[in-house]
């Protein structure tokens, strides 16, 4: 299941683990990303907590926890090479995986059609 947030994040659910990243639209807004800071494995995040930081050439941007959960895995590749996020934001550019506190909360997020409508 693939869902989106208004803060331009995407989530892909497998079981109770959601892979989280930022959308292609977000990377277009940000421009070239030069730095990524990921959360710690084991961190417990509430929905809306600051989870990660991306820096483009010009400015820093926060990535928020789209839903409550525990961080179980990080994508170290994008820390080593932030350009991967621009190149493949919804694939190889994933940020971290969350074990969701409540899988049903995914229902409250936007589907692809709704996100496309939001971003015009």
């Amino acid at each position: 299941m693939l869902k989106y947030t208004e803060e331009h994040e995407w989530l892909r659910l497998e079981g109770d683990i959601a892979t989280v990243g930022i959308t292609a639209h977000a990377t277009e807004l940000l421009g070239d990303i030069v730095f990524v800071q990921l959360p710690e494995v084991g961190a417990t995040l509430a929905k809306g907590d600051g989870a990660a930081v991306v820096e483009s050439v010009k400015a820093a941007s926060d990535v928020f926890a789209p839903l409550a959960g525990e961080v179980v895995e990080l994508n170290q590749a994008i820390v080593e090479d932030p350009a991967i996020v621009n190149a493949d934001p919804q694939g190889a550019g994933w940020f971290f995986k969350l074990r969701l506190a409540d899988v049903r909360a995914m229902d409250g997020l936007m589907d692809e059609a709704a996100y496309k409508k939001l971003t015009g």
Partner: protein, 378 residues
């Protein structure tokens, strides 16, 4: 972007057709980047050549009422600690307006055009600079704002690109300024720039600016470059941005710009002083300034931006300095910054700490510039 009352340059429509992302800057709607993106635009400029629209900057003619350029030079010398009188026709020089405290009102380029001086000033300060010139020099000089476009051509392929329109440009050296004819139009061309690369800054009549820009862009080596890359390029070159690295509270000595104050204007020189803040600046030249602008290299990959406080130690509580410009240097593939530190810490090789998102990050003090300039001298 839909902001009312934003001014536009003669190349505005061209930027939009090229797919630029437009942003407000100094009251103008300007391209911050094109589809290539800031990183690639920056690297392209250093590898090949970039074309920048800087028409938002101020171009001001200073002409003595007597028509004698030496009078205009003497007059301007009352406002800048730089030697203008000995600036030969066809030459360009870096200068700055000072205030009574030795602070910098604006930095600018001054060209001797034979019978008048041409000043190029920052966009954000151009109205204030014009008023300053009129108020101080209005009795002996006419001050005229030019309504022309200004483009910069920067990079190793800039000369070859411009030579297709004006072959004589190849005989120009760094800081030369000439009138060249481009596509039938008289343009003022200076071999100068704000990137650390060889290149030219070209003043063009507004009505033919787009045609000339398009002709230049037809060259496969040339790409249009936005303000985003312009900023990362000048930061790597260690060049100041007025309003960030220099302002009314920084003196040229603190800013490391005292090289621009020729000996003849210093204590003991033939045209000693006679500009605002001379005593304070001379005092700093003689006894040293309390703080200095330095290059900064944060450890790791996180950029440290303007405004970040600097500390002597990881757990120190007293701020000793501030970052004035910071970002990412694509040619270095690393974050870089500039800031001010007390003299004792302003030593290449020293380590200070920047506060970033609540943490203290080690930052190395370095020399400026970060890259080797490629000016065409001699």
């Amino acid at each position: 972007m839909d902001q009312p009352n934003l001014k536009t340059t003669p190349l505005h429509a061209l930027h939009q057709e090229l797919g630029a992302r437009m942003v407000p800057f100094a009251g103008y709607e300007m391209p911050v980047q094109y589809p290539l993106g800031v990183l690639k635009e920056h690297l392209h400029t250093r590898a090949a050549a970039g074309l920048f629209d800087v028409s938002h900057m101020g171009q001001i003619v200073l002409r003595a009422k007597s028509e004698n350029v030496r009078e205009a030079s003497q007059a301007l010398g009352r406002l800048v600690p730089v030697d203008v009188v000995d600036l030969a026709p066809g030459q360009l020089r870096y200068a700055f307006f000072t205030n009574a405290r030795g602070g910098i009102l604006d930095d600018l380029m001054v060209a001797n055009r034979g019978d008048h001086l041409l000043l190029v000033v920052n966009a954000a300060r151009k109205e204030a600079d014009e008023a300053h010139l009129r108020a101080q020099l209005g009795n002996e000089c006419d001050v005229e704002r030019l309504d022309r476009a200004l483009i910069a051509l920067q990079g190793p392929k800039a000369e070859a690109a411009l030579a297709l329109l004006a072959p004589e440009c190849v005989s120009m050296r760094f800081m030369d300024v000439r009138t060249l004819t481009l596509m039938g139009a008289e343009c003022t061309v200076a071999r100068s720039g704000y990137t650390g690369e060889d290149g030219f800054e070209i003043s063009i009549p507004a009505d033919i600016a787009r045609e000339i820009a398009e002709e230049l862009l037809a060259n496969p080596y040339l790409a249009p470059i936005g303000l985003g890359a312009r900023d990362s390029l000048r930061l790597e070159a260690g060049l100041c941005l007025h309003g960030s690295d220099i302002d009314e509270r920084t003196t040229p000595v603190e800013a490391g710009l005292f090289w621009a104050i020729q000996k003849v204007r210093r204590r003991g020189g033939g045209r000693e002083g006679g500009f605002p803040g001379a005593e304070i600046i001379f005092g700093q030249l003689e006894h040293g300034a309390a703080r200095h602008r330095v290059g900064l290299r944060p450890e790791g990959r996180a950029p440290v931006r303007a405004g970040a406080p600097l500390f002597a130690a990881e757990d120190a509580s007293v701020q000793i300095g501030t970052v004035t410009s910071g970002g990412f240097g694509p040619s270095l593939n690393a974050p870089i910054a500039m800031g001010y530190l007390p003299t004792a810490f302003a030593v290449p090789g020293a380590t200070v700490f920047a506060e970033l998102r609540g943490e203290r990050l080690p930052v190395a003090v370095t020399r400026l510039p970060f890259i080797e300039p490629k000016y065409k001298r001699g």
